[in-house]
Amino acid sequence: MTVRPLWVGLAAALALAVLPLVANPYLLFVGNQLSIFVILAVGLNLLVGYCGQLAFAHAALFGIGAYGTALLKVHLGVPFAVSLPCGALLATAVGLAISLPALRLSGLYLSLATLAFAQFTLWVFLHWEPVTFGAGGFRVPAPSWPIPGVTAGIGTFYLALALAVLLTLAAASLVRSRLGRAMIAVRDGEVAAQALGVDLLRTKAMAFGLSAFYAGVAGGLQALMLGYVAPESFDLFHMALMKAMIVVGGLGSIAGSVVGAGAVLFLLEGLRAFKGAQEIAFGALLMGAVILAPRGLAGLLDRLPGWQERYLRAAPAERAPAAAVPREAPP
C-alpha cells in the first residue's frame, strides 16, 4: 500500500477541522498555534532546508508580519482583511531587502548578518514606542467575521487552518517546480548550478522572499489569534524554536516541516509549567536530532512501507516514455 504524504496531511487537517466542535478553548488555541507553526516551519524550510541558506531572520520577519498586521488595524483602522495581506507583503518586502546584501554572504557570515538584522528588528519593536508601544506590547482588537454565529476565535482558527493547508500544498508543488529545483541545485552545488544557467541571485532572492511571505502570514495570524503583540514573541528563543521544528522534522522535507512543527508544539505545551526547562529541553532535542536522526523525523517517515515524499517532480521516465530510463528493480 502506498501511503501518500498528501493524504495523511489532508486527513490530519480534516481532524483539526472538527476540533472546535469538541475542544475546550485551550485545545482550540493549541490547534490554532499548530497551523501557525506549520506555516512558519514550511516557510523556513524552503529557505534553509531546500535552498541551503542558513538565515536567522525568520522570527524577526514573523514579528514584522504580526506588527504590520496589528499596527495597521490599531493606528489606521484598516480591516484585517486588508491588514493581514499587507503585513505579509511587508514581511516579504523586508525579506527581499535583506536578501540583497545577504546574497553576497554565505555560511556563517550569512547567519551572522541575518542574526544582526533580527536583533535590530527586535530593537525597533522595543524602542520605537510611539508606533510599536515598546516592550509592553499592545492589545489587538478581536476580528469580527461576517458569518453569523462564528466567534472571533473560531474564525481565526479556520482561517489559519485553511492558510496552513494552502501554503503547505503550495510549497510541496513549488519544490517540484523549476524554481524549486533551482533552489535545491543551489544548495547542493552553487558553482555547478551557476554553470548550468541558474541565476544564483534571483533564485536566492526568491527563496528569501517566499520564506519571508510565509513568516509574514504566520505573524498576522498570530496577532489575530492572541489579540496581543509584544516583542518577546519574536526573539531568539523563537528563532531557535523554528530551527528546531525543521531540524527535528527534517531539512528539505515538507512533510518533515509539518511533523516537526507538531513535535515542537507538543513539547512546548508539555513544558508550559516549567518555563526554565523549555530552553534546556529544546537544546537537548536539537542536539539529539542532529546526532541521532540527522534527517529528522522525515528520515523515519521515509522508512514507512510505501511512503514516498517526492522532493522533486517525477523523473523523465515517468513523464516521457521516449527518455527510456529503466525503473529500479524492486528489492
Binding site: 523549476r178 529545483r181 533551482a182 535545491i184 541545485a185 544548495r187 547542493d188 552545488g189 558553482v191 555547478a192 548550478a193 551557476q194 554553470a195 548550468l196 544557467g197 541558474v198 541565476d199 528539505g252 522532493y311 522533486l312 523523473a315 523523465p316 521516465a317 516521457a320 521516449a322 527518455a323 527510456a324 530510463v325 529503466p326 525503473r327 529500479e328
Partner: protein
Amino acid sequence: MLEVEHLAVSYGPTRILEDVSFAVPEGQVVSLLGGNGSGKTTVLNALCGMVRPDGGSARIAGEDCTGRRPDEILRRGVAQVPQGREVFATMTVAENLEMGAYARRDRDGVRRDTERVLALFPRLREKARRRAGTLSGGEQQMLAVARAMMSGPRLLLMDEPSVGLAPAVLGDMVATIRALRAEGMTILLVEQNVGVAAAVADTAHVLRGGRIVHSGPAARLLGDEEVLRSYLG
C-alpha cells in the same frame, strides 16, 4: 572554437593571470597544465563568466564573449564540468541530467540528448534512480560530464576531472574524454595530472605564475624533461 587573447585577471590587488593567450580549435582537445596556484581554474572561471577579466578577450566561435554572464556564455554553447564534480547529491542521476538541461527550452532536443548521453554512459542509465550522492567518485565524475553535456554544448570546459579519482578509474576518465572527442566535441581540459593530459589532449599549454610558459603537442609532454621540471617548479 575558442580564442583567448592577452587574458588578465586580478582578485583585488592580486594579479592572478598576467597575460594568457591560447586557442582551442574545433574538434580538438586542448589541455591547460599547471600546479596549484598557477591560475588554471581562474582561466576557466573567466571563460565561464564567473570572474570578470580586467584585460584581454575571449572569443567563442568568433564572437567576443569577454565578461558576459554565466548564462549568456552557456547559451553560446559552452558548458563547464566544475572542479570537485559538484553533482547535486540529493537529486537522482536522472534529475541531475534534467538539471543539466535547465537553461534549455527545446524538449525534443533535450530528449535526444538524454538518449545520447545515456548511450555514452550506460552505467548512468543503470543507476538513473539512485541519488547522485550515493555514486562512487568515478561515477560522479561521469555524471558531472554527462550533466554538462545535457546543455548541448559545442565546447566543454573540464576543471581537473582526475582529482580525487582512484588510479583504477583514471582510465575510465581518459576513455570518456576520448569518446567525447570521437563524437566531435571540442574540449578544454584543465589538469594537474600530466599523464591524463598527455593521453587525451592534442595540444598542451603549461601555465605558471599566470603566464603560459610552454606550448606544444601533448603527446611529447611526458618525454620532455625540461617541461616537466618547469611545470613541477
